[in-house]
Amino acid sequence: MNTRRDLIRVFRADHGRLLAALLAQFRDFDLAEDALQAAFAKATEVWPQQGQPERPAAWLMTVARRHALDRLRKTARQGSEVMRRTITMLTEAQDIPNKGAIPDERLRLIFTCCHPALAQEAQVALTLRTLGGLSTAEIARAFLSREPAIAKRLTRAKTKIRDAGIPYEVPEPAELPHRLPQVLAVIYLIYNESYSAFEGTTLTRADLAEEALHLARITFRLRPLPETQGLLALLLLHDARRPARGQHEMIPLEAQDRTLWDRDKINKGRTHLLHALAHKRPGAYQIQAAISAVHTDAADWDATDWKQIAGLYKTLSVIAPSDVVTLNHAVALCQAGDLTEAEALITTLAGSLVRYQPFYAARAELYRRQGQLAAACTDLDKAIELSRNTAETRWLQRRRDALGIENRDAPGQDAV
């Protein structure tokens, strides 16, 4: 029998595809979402008793469509546009092949959600809600925001789509170069949400990651440009590490059991990366993918080709600069033994990454290599204090213990 968790997993896996298909028919976000919710509710009621149907998605689609049509009929006025649309749809519904194959309208949905007429925060929230199936609460938690704010953001976005006439379409070929970068950015953001630690939720990170991967794949098929392929490569290489990241909390890269990495995804990712790089049009996603690929070459953290990674981060800091990129660059330099350069970069960050745990962990390593054990200790303590993840904390604690400094109150003591 289905447990509630099983059901939720099925729902989340199908949510994006089903909603996209419903939208293609009904062109109304609220109507489509309500209908899907109703179908899920019905399934929760019926499946535990009658067993899960052979094709759960088709079952959900049928119930949702029926629900939406009922809603439309109730609100339609005689002879109005809405009534005419209903009748058309009722007729069309007959024509859908009995096989229950649900067309994949997800690309349409993501281009609509990522329309430039919507604010980017709205694009991300809407994509997560519709394609990822995240609840408003889950989105709020992912963005460290409040539920009412996210709810308002979603409502405003849907209203704008409806009132301003944002079409439910994949843009025409001439427009694609303008519209694609934003879609890639949103897919990337979604993948990162799956990657971060969700504490105590029923959300499976795997579903969201798979959703992002699927979107990256179909986007690539539609537009096989180097950066699209670069994004796909990046997500594959990143996701290959998921089995080693731990079930409930994220185990840092340094501590991961690399034998658990998915070699199949790594090979696929590397193939895509090589193809993309062959076009000699490097971009941020390709470079990040390359960095990831260098990691997959190494048996462990220390055996990594850090010089190569440092070089890649140097390029990335020109194309897509950010504090985190600078920090990662510094880490790579430090690991490669270029302490002076590493220190120069870290100094520039001292003011901005004040509450960012990896900053202190990185600086601690620099201090350690410079022989400043007390300072390293202080920074590791700070990192431990900021850590919100016990796997991470345990790793930091081990590093701190390795320094050999017992007493925090006596910073002048050397390792015995």
Binding site: D163, G165, P167
Partner: protein, 112 residues
């Protein structure tokens, strides 16, 4: 759907010499495409007068409703199926090259 395209530009920048020709060409394009519903150029913002009724009293002031970096210079009403079409046509408005065109759908009132 009908969209209003409001054309804003910084009057201080002045107009290119062939602006009229550009607009004439644009007008031809949108009429041929069946997109043109209406449109006018406006006299400069120095000719504007603002009217407010407050507590039954009429307040008339010299100038636009607000001082803005770019000022309203004209408008078009365009008949387009989707916002994407409206964006496409609005982006061809000559002043868009140095000003801003705001696109907004006209409100539709259901006839009962």
């Amino acid at each position: 759907m009908k969209y209003l395209a409001l054309i804003y530009a910084d009057e201080a920048l002045g107009d290119p010499d062939d602006l009229m020709d550009q607009y004439e060409a644009y007008f031809q394009e949108i009429t041929t495409a069946g997109v043109y519903v209406g449109g006018e150029a406006l006299e400069p913002v120095s000719t504007a007068t603002s009217i407010r009724m407050r507590n039954g009293e009429r307040q008339v002031t010299d100038g636009p409703f607000a001082e803005t970096k770019e000022q309203l210079g004209g408008y078009f009403v365009l008949e387009c199926e989707t916002l994407d079409d409206a964006i496409k046509w609005a982006s061809k408005i000559p002043s868009a090259k140095y000003g801003t065109v705001e696109v907004r759908p006209l409100m539709v009132f259901d006839e009962e």
